[in-house]
Symmetry: none
Subunit: 203 residues, 4 copies
DNA sequence: TATGAATGAGCGTTCATTCAT
DNA sequence: AATGAATGAACGCTCATTCAT
């Protein structure tokens, strides 16, 4: 093996160790909540001692930070692609919902943590959470408004309520979604979209 | 004044003080989360010292217990009345949603705590949370099933998904609902019901 | 006993407990150095548990802070009185040395800590140490200069060196001085002054 | 090159590296104090990782040991030469002071550490510090006694106090002395000696 | 020689809880 | 009812040290 290849592999392995530990931490955070999780529990779950975590991370909080910011970075990559595609309001909504369930599928723990620890947005270190929430609101509520203007969505609804309805409905799903369960993320997304758009009433 | 009367009055006063302290605790729990809340913060908010809380309550956990069980007791009184009224599926759904938003209005903090600390249901002391969740599922999902059977609700939906959709939609509202805001609980309930039943699409 | 008297006594007792604990902490800091001292050692010496110290103090550092600032406050009360008395240079020097040894006698531990932890002066919290050092230098070196100008002290010495000579000579004594030893503080002060002024040579 | 020669060269190189690392460690110890210094800080200053230091040294303590014992060995080589020279008391005192300032000049960091960590003398590993202090006291106090007996030094002083006065005066200078400053070690030594012998008074 | 990853003991600190007053 | 002072367990984190590579 060439030296370059070895170096590359070493880098991957190092990044891989961090990634493994972050995934472990995310799992425990998601199950117990950030505050109720001790670093010893994370370390136990990873099969090392508590102090050893600090070789890889600065603090418990920095693990949380990395988990959340990593998730949001990926999320917005997907969202931005959708928003830049120039779709109509209903197609945009469908794409956003679909993308959201894909993210829930890929980052279940991170999403659950994000839902539960929203209050972090007030701390300077997690200001990007607040930023994300604003952009989030702009994207979804803007799409709803465009839909109303285009005559695709009902005009008799308070859009702020509708926005929250849609937002919560989609994201809270992370709290019960289990990958490998009865339905895959795509199926759930389609059913959710259908309920969202047409309700549960017989037409 | 008789001794019995004095005792009675003392009890009432004590109950009143307890109630005040519980409301204070619920407020802090709802804002910061149970684990992130210290008894000192509760005591500070109540204007007493931390140790003094233990004259009124056995433990921090017992405060949480009392808050949650008190809320659920009231909730089920309302739900049971609805369920016993012999209404059709859609009327039952409407009544349950309405009742839920009324509870959110009256017990905002308790609902927010209940949402966030759902994981407690696994602990023996909080087994009644798991019980309540089961009864909850039975009531809502049963109503949906009756509605499908009666030809009122769509039959092409996975009812477990629909149940979660409805449940989350309603209860997560407690995380942003503020009494005295733009809309009262009744208005929000009606809008939510409308979206739930008919979707956001133009018919 | 009147209520006012009880309150007063209670306050004294509370201040007394703090004072006791600070004296204990100062003793351990002086013996082992601040960094090498654990709060458990302080607590052991005080006969309580480590955590109990935090009922009285914010942190280990705040104990150090209180010890040093308390000492310096007292020191400067004495120095300022000397400097304001309008004495001649030699009398001022005599009074400063005498006052210094009195402070060493009264605040042995604090002085020893002050000597050893001078590097703290660089930290914002302990900026008053740097201030004190500046005022110190001004007071002593100014006195030496006045003495030279008045023809009382030798003019062939580098005054900065002389200042350090005098300063160190006096204050390092805290590292070996034991109250109740062979000589009292006044005797030591007189001998030191004599050596300082006339040297150890036979005249 | 022969194997023996290579080994020898390797040893020399290793000794050189050890010396470099010890100088680095001494610098950090002197600046921050032994306890407040982490091996990581030493390693950082040396441009290697903390663990790598253990290829060269057994422990942090052994670095300190080597620094202090190396300094004391050199110091006593000089002192012994002075003491064996058969000088009179004043000449001996002058030579000891001169020698001391030369050591301060050459081993500034070691001297500063020695001053600050005097308490180590109580530990078995550093018993040689206590030995050195005893020999030190014997040498200086003996010289003072000889001077008094010879009618060269004042007889009205407590010699134990005078010894401490002289000792502290000289060695504490290491805490502020910077090589390359306004005065060289010889100049400082002469001024200190002059103050020590004749005082700061005008004669 | 040096690294990367880990250990394990101990640190300063927090916090729910107790209890005499 | 409430306080002041303490307890004791646990927490997040640091750090000297080890060791396979």
């Amino acid at each position: 093996m060439s030296e370059a290849a070895m170096t590359s592999q070493a880098k991957t392995a190092a990044a891989g160790r961090r990634g493994e530990l972050l995934a472990t931490a995310a799992q425990v955070f998601a199950r117990q909540g950030y505050d109720a999780t001790t670093v010893r529990e994370i370390a136990d779950a990873a099969g090392i001692l508590a102090g050893s975590l600090y070789y890889h991370f600065d603090s418990k909080e920095s693990m949380l930070d990395e988990i959340l910011s990593g998730f949001l970075t990926e999320l917005w990559t997907g969202y931005d692609a959708v928003l830049a595609a120039g779709l109509g309001p209903r197609e945009t909504l469908e794409a956003l919902v679909g993308q959201s369930f894909r993210e829930i599928d890929r980052h279940r723990d991170a999403v659950a943590i994000y839902q539960r620890e929203r209050h972090l947005a007030g701390q300077p270190r997690f200001a990007y959470l607040a930023d994300s929430m604003s952009r989030f609101e702009a994207a979804w509520q803007g799409t709803l408004e465009r839909g109303v203007a285009a005559g695709e969505f009902r005009s008799d609804l308070d859009l702020r309520l509708a926005y929250r309805f849609v937002r919560d409905t989609v994201w809270v799903a992370a709290s019960w979604y289990r990958p490998g369960g009865r339905h895959d993320a795509g199926t759930i997304a389609r059913q959710y979209l259908s309920m969202l758009l047409d309700g549960i009433n017989i037409r």
